[in-house]
């Protein structure tokens, strides 16, 4: 897809962001965000836009995913050092709101086998719904590790009423190349979400948590 952000500018900005974070090291892993300013978009009239896209490199490496699995998936999880719970373990929570809430807080996301996902309302009640952590489907045809990496690499764009939004696209320990690729993918996807594509984009910046913003467009 043709982009209005040249490769040179992209790499320049990414380099600046990474340099900036290196110059002043922080006690935590800084996230790199893509900040978007929109134009020609009326939240009262235009269709709401929001969407999820899988990036090439994992932007949040510390993300914890827990598998709610059938026998096969639990075995696979165990073999791969992935946190898991089976139907019995879920039943033990006894639909206790506090315990379900605690479980929801412990992990960033959940994946569940088909047989289990259908029982979630019965087993756990609406606790995971409320926490925004209802599990995604884990099939049997795919590698669990791959699916988890997919979940970790997926970001969500969501327009909230004001004409700007930001989304995490990486972190400062990534290479220039990796970060640039993630940013490029994110921008292309964003533009594809907008009705008038580039005509709806006023500005694009990237910045690390503590660094200054670098303008891409």
């Amino acid at each position: 897809m043709a982009s209005k952000v040249s490769r040179d500018i992209l790499y320049e900005c990414v380099t600046e962001v990474l340099k900036g974070s290196e110059a002043k090291q922080r006690r935590f892993l800084e996230t790199v965000e893509l900040q978007i300013g929109l134009k020609n978009y009326d939240p009262q009239k235009d269709k709401r836009f929001s969407g999820t896209v899988k990036l090439k490199y994992i932007p949040r490496p510390k993300m914890q995913v827990c598998v709610l699995g059938d026998q096969q998936h639990c075995d696979e999880a165990k073999a791969n050092d992935i946190p898991f719970m089976d139907a019995e373990a879920l039943k033990k929570l006894n639909k206790n709101k506090k315990l379900v809430k605690k479980l929801a807080k412990k992990y960033d996301a959940f994946l569940a086998s088909e047989s289990l996902i259908k029982q979630i309302p019965r087993l756990l009640g609406p606790g995971l719904n409320k926490a925004g952590k209802f599990p995604g489907l884990l099939g049997h045809g795919e590698s669990m590790v791959q699916k988890i990496d997919e979940v970790k690499a997926t970001i969500k764009f969501q327009m909230k009423k004001v004409l700007c939004l930001s989304v995490a696209v990486g972190h400062v320990k990534m290479s220039t190349d990796e970060l640039a690729q993630n940013v490029h993918l994110a921008i292309n996807f964003l533009v594809s979400l907008l009705k008038k594509h580039w005509q709806n984009v006023r500005s694009l910046h990237i910045k690390s948590s503590m660094g200054s913003a670098q303008r891409l467009y």
Partner: protein, 393 residues
């Protein structure tokens, strides 16, 4: 004036020849009737039709509610240009299921207005009288027997999003659910014939199905479908064996279809696949408006392209056994369509959109149609669309 090249990197176009298009979509159907909602610039964002198909109500972005008559022959006539005028945006318009003269309109600031369309009077205003601040509303619907009305809300400051229930006859607030979604609820739909069954959809990617005859929200929550991406709208369908299906259109113009009882995903069409079925080239310009049920038990999808401000493409795709098949193509469409209704009896498609026009197309193909294009094809497909129902009077 913006050049179309700037709008999308790969200009959207038909992906096959005109000849092929005619073969697939049979013919281009011209509008039978069209009317402008207003002289000032506005968008038609919501549309509803009475069960007897006699009336249409349109919710405009200028915060006005308009009433139209659909006359014999499909002619549209404005009956009440300003049935309602509001301080905040309209978020949903619904006629009652059993009463063609009662209409509901919900607004962003948390009111649901009820009208008698014969007199144009506002009969009642349902207000959110639940605890805390008045919830901003996003959608509303009324159940099969017109006794319960539900309005959904945006996510509030404390992180809760609400489903507010009202008793229509007693005219009072009944209670709410607030535990099943974690973000703006975008759409609510009651089951077409079961007065207790109800579905809600949200930006959080979930479709929740409830049996509201249960005592608590937790018990009411029957099924949960995770589309894993923000949902724009939902609809109920039945499969050929009579099983309940629920579909959703996502904010990225994908269509998901689930079998409710088995909770299986029946079909998933992403915008690329829908674009292909439509015979267009640019997936990022695809605009899925919604789905409509056909009297023979199937349903169709109404979709178009945003390219050239919606004028180039407005078509329907028929769902058939996990496939979306080319169905109808509508010509002389002048806008990006945002809402539509389908009259199953007369086979009229009525749509409104971003230019504030309300357009009626007759989908029925018979020997006497007035589109001016005589399709000489005697294929089975054409015969299926000829109505065999006799008129009731």
């Amino acid at each position: 004036p913006q050049s179309s090249d700037e709008e999308s990197p790969v200009p959207d176009a038909n992906s096959c020849s005109e000849k092929e298009l005619v073969k697939l979509f049979q013919q281009e159907i011209s509008p039978a009737s069209e009317t402008a909602a207003s002289l000032k610039r506005t968008c038609g964002l919501h549309i509803a039709q009475s069960w007897d198909y006699a009336r249409i109500a349109v919710g405009l972005s200028c915060k006005e509610l308009q009433l139209l008559r659909v006359r014999e022959g499909g002619e549209l006539a404005v009956e009440n240009r300003k049935l309602g005028r509001y301080a905040s945006g309209i978020r949903g318009v619904r006629f009652f299921n059993g009463d063609p003269n009662s209409l509901l309109c919900c607004t962003e600031d948390g009111n649901v207005f009820m009208y008698d369309v014969r007199t144009g009077d506002e009969v009642y205003c349902f207000e959110d009288t639940s605890e805390g601040t008045k919830k901003t509303m996003t959608s509303c619907d009324i159940n099969y027997n017109d006794r319960i009305m539900c309005a959904s809300s945006e996510v509030q400051k404390n992180g809760d999003s609400f489903l507010l229930f009202f008793d229509v006859r007693e005219r009072k607030y009944l209670g709410s659910y607030w535990e099943c979604h974690s973000d703006d609820i975008t759409h609510v739909r009651f089951h077409p014939s079961n007065p207790d069954l109800f579905a809600s959809a949200s930006v959080d990617g979930l479709i929740n199905v409830f049996d509201i005859s249960s005592q608590t929200e937790e018990d009411a929550m029957q099924y949960c479908f995770n589309a894993e991406t923000s949902i724009d709208s939902i609809n109920w369908h039945t499969d050929p064996t009579g099983r309940d299906l629920v579909s959703c259109v996502t904010t990225t113009n994908d269509l998901h279809l689930y079998d409710v009882e088995s909770q299986d995903s029946v079909a998933l069409f992403d915008r690329g696949q829908i674009t292909q079925s439509l015979r267009r080239t640019s997936a990022i310009d695809c605009n899925v408006v919604g789905t409509h049920n056909l009297s023979n038990g199937s349903f169709f999808v109404l979709a178009g392209s945003n390219f050239n401000r919606g004028k180039d493409c407005l078509r329907t795709l028929r769902y058939d056994n996990k496939c979306l098949l080319p169905d109808r193509s509508f010509s002389d469409n002048k806008q990006i369509v945002r809402a539509s209704v389908y009259n199953e009896k007369d086979q009229y498609l009525i749509a409104t959109g971003e230019c504030g026009l309300i357009t009626l197309w007759k989908c029925r193909i018979d020997g006497t149609n007035d589109t001016g294009v005589n399709s000489a094809s005697k294929s089975m497909k054409q015969k299926l669309h000829v109505s065999h129902r006799s008129k009731p009077y």
